[in-house]
């Protein structure tokens, strides 16, 4: 340990500090009171004697009872955390050498073994010859501040690490300053030149592909006018060299106390690969389905011509076989159509073509079309129609598909002979409602939650009818969900099922916030 007894004891250039217990002047507080209030202790070290004098508050900070007796340097060092003792020695050496004021920070060990961190400032007092005669200082407990500084540091460190580790382009749009900041991904992955200053506010949108730019601009404007906290959009963003990147952008809006947006912080995820796979899947389904249609068309035509005796007259049993070929072919065409429809709707390619439609004749047309299927079981379809309904705005192809799927299900799953399938079209105060009831096998309760799921078929349906696709109800629900309608059912196993379809009085319409609207709206 360094010896701290300087040999020179010449005259001080500065008056000794006023005693700490000087009586207070009127209207002011004593130094002692001020220290106590601020939890700041003070000390002075006399170079000649090596004694250290503490203020009462400093004793309290060290967890000791205030004492009048000066401490020697060795006793002082015992109170300092062993790992910081060397640091204190070096600081004092440096103070002796430079004679300049300095700040310090060190840990102490309290009598109850707790460790606290102190921080403070010192000043070195010298005589005319420049010899140190005294060192004065203040100390205060900065343990809590250190902790929160460390927490802040760690949190910032974590934030920086996340920004460095991610491949997402993260941005911070600051509305008051009209600027937008990006993480390094902008230069690392998107190859834009590095720059220190943030970009102007509109920079991100101006680098969105022109096909999407206006849509995103409108969507962002709407976000800022709304009370929404979150925002998700997909668009094509351009790299520095113009390469398009499919992006899913998720943002969070920070608002002031009056809910005015002040910052939008978001991350742009590159979903190019996912989009490519989706497109490949769509192309594959479309290609396969269209390719399947061609041979099926030939089979259908030729079977129809054979059955009509167009080639040459055929026997009744030949007729029966050919008709079975024909109906199987139609069934397969129907399956291909359903798969194509589902694929188109799921990929957002459904174009709603609304036509003022006479619903009665549409439903009657579908009943006529499925009537041949009822022959086997002698099922009768009873249509209770609503007289004098004005034409309803629907996409006739899609609505026909829904009616067709409900009717064929009702017929297919009616096991008994000579029963009735009831079809009803009503107008209530709120909506139009189509009801299709059968007295068939019904839907077992465990199947209820899955009945509108694609490729799902209830156990009893699979056993009695192997040929269903499990797409009919899914497709009906998909169409109705996207066009403002609803579908639901009531059923009891063994007793039958009733399916309900409701449409608003205004008919089908583009539902908000879905793939249809996205297609229709751009």
């Amino acid at each position: 340990m360094t010896t701290r007894v300087p040999g020179n004891n010449s005259k001080a250039t500065e008056q000794a500090p006023p005693p700490a217990n000087r009586p207070p002047e009127t209207g002011t507080i004593s130094l002692e009171e001020a220290e106590e209030l601020a939890h700041i202790g003070s000390w002075q070290w006399d170079a000649a004697s090596g004694d250290i004098t503490w203020s009462d508050e400093l004793y309290r900070i060290y967890g000791l009872r205030p004492g009048k007796k000066a401490l020697d340097y060795g006793s002082f060092m015992q109170l300092i955390h062993p790992e910081d003792r060397d640091k204190i020695n070096k600081l004092i050496d440096e103070a002796y050498r430079s004679k300049r004021p300095f700040g310090f920070e060190h840990r102490i060990i309290l009598p109850d073994k707790k460790i606290r961190t102190l921080g403070g400032q010192c000043k070195v007092v010298t005589d005319d010859a420049g010899n140190v005669i005294r060192v004065l200082g203040t100390s205060q407990d900065i343990t809590e501040r250190k902790k929160s500084d460390q927490a802040l540091y760690r949190s910032n460190e974590r934030f920086q690490a996340v920004l460095a580790a991610t491949n997402d382009l993260v941005y911070d749009l600051d509305l008051p300053s009209g600027t937008i900041w990006f993480n390094d991904v902008l230069s690392r992955e998107y190859k834009y030149p590095k720059q220190e200053a943030p970009h102007p506010r509109g920079w991100r949108v101006s680098h969105i592909h022109s096909d999407d730019k206006m849509r995103i601009k409108r969507s962002l404007d709407a976000l800022l006018r709304s009370d929404d906290m979150t925002w998700v959009e997909e668009y094509t963003f351009l790299k520095y060299d113009g390469t398009p990147v499919d992006i899913r952008d998720r943002a969070f809006v920070l608002r002031d106390i009056e809910a005015r947006p002040i910052r939008v912080i978001g991350s742009m995820l590159d979903i190019t690969r996912q989009k490519e796979l989706e497109r490949a899947k769509d192309r594959f389904i479309s290609l396969v389905s269209h390719q399947l249609r061609t041979p099926l068309t030939s089979m259908r035509l030729l079977a129809e011509m054979l059955a009509a005796g167009q080639a040459e007259p055929i026997t009744p049993s030949q007729q029966e076989y050919v008709q079975k070929i024909e109906s199987s072919t139609k069934r397969m065409i129907e399956l291909v159509n359903e798969i194509l429809n589902v694929s188109n709707i799921e990929s957002g390619q459904l174009h709603l073509r609304l036509v003022q439609t006479d619903i009665n004749s549409l439903i009657q047309g579908q009943i006529d079309e499925v009537t041949p299927l009822t022959a086997e079981n002698n099922i009768r379809i009873v249509y209770e129609q609503l007289a004098n309904i004005p034409p309803v705005d629907v996409d006739p192809i899609l609505f026909r598909q829904i009616v067709h799927n409900l009717l064929t299900n009702a017929i297919r799953y009616t096991a008994a002979e000579q029963t009735i399938v009831q079809v009803k079209f009503q107008r209530t105060d709120k909506e139009y409602m189509l009801t299709v009831s059968d007295k068939g096998i019904g839907i077992p309760e465990e199947a209820w939650p899955h009945i509108f799921t694609s490729f799902y078929r209830a156990n009893n349906a699979v056993k009695t009818h192997g040929d269903g696709t499990g797409l009919g109800l899914y497709l009906a629900k998909l169409i109705l969900d996207l066009t403002g309608g609803k579908i639901w059912f009531e059923s009891e196993e063994g007793k039958g099922s009733t399916f309900y379809v409701s449409l608003p009085h205004g008919g089908m319409r583009h539902a908000q916030d879905n793939t249809l609207a996205a297609v229709g709206g751009t």
Binding site: H290, R293, T294, T297, R300, L301, E304, L340
Partner: protein, 113 residues
């Protein structure tokens, strides 16, 4: 295969049928034989059915010729373009019985373009 099946079926219903094997041949056949109606597929060698339809409409002599698109492809763009060019109908082959097709043809010939 399908074309010959259609020819068989439609001949049976009393129509006289000329088959062209691609888009260019179709245009030549149409100009030369002046049929009462044209059934066009979309996917054909050299020229698509939509392109043939556009070429038909560019010929002043053929502007009122009834045309039905008969395809297994149902891309919304094609359907919209066919409607713009005044096709009488856009029919999906697989969804159509011979009887339906005959009804469409008769209707198109009667009502004209």
């Amino acid at each position: 295969m399908i074309a010959s099946a259609y020819k068989l079926g439609l001949t049976h219903h009393g129509f006289e049928i000329i088959i062209a094997r691609d888009g260019r041949e179709a245009l030549a056949v149409i100009t030369q034989h002046r049929p009462h109606i044209v059934l066009l597929d979309v996917i054909m060698p050299h020229m698509t059915g939509i392109e043939v339809l556009a070429a038909i409409r560019e010929n002043p002599a053929l502007q009122t010729l009834p045309v039905i698109i008969l395809s297994n492809l149902d891309q919304p763009d094609d359907i919209a373009r066919a409607n713009e060019l005044g096709a009488k109908a856009y029919l999906i082959k697989a969804n159509l019985s011979l009887k339906d097709l005959v009804a469409h043809i008769q209707d198109a010939i009667e009502t004209g373009m």
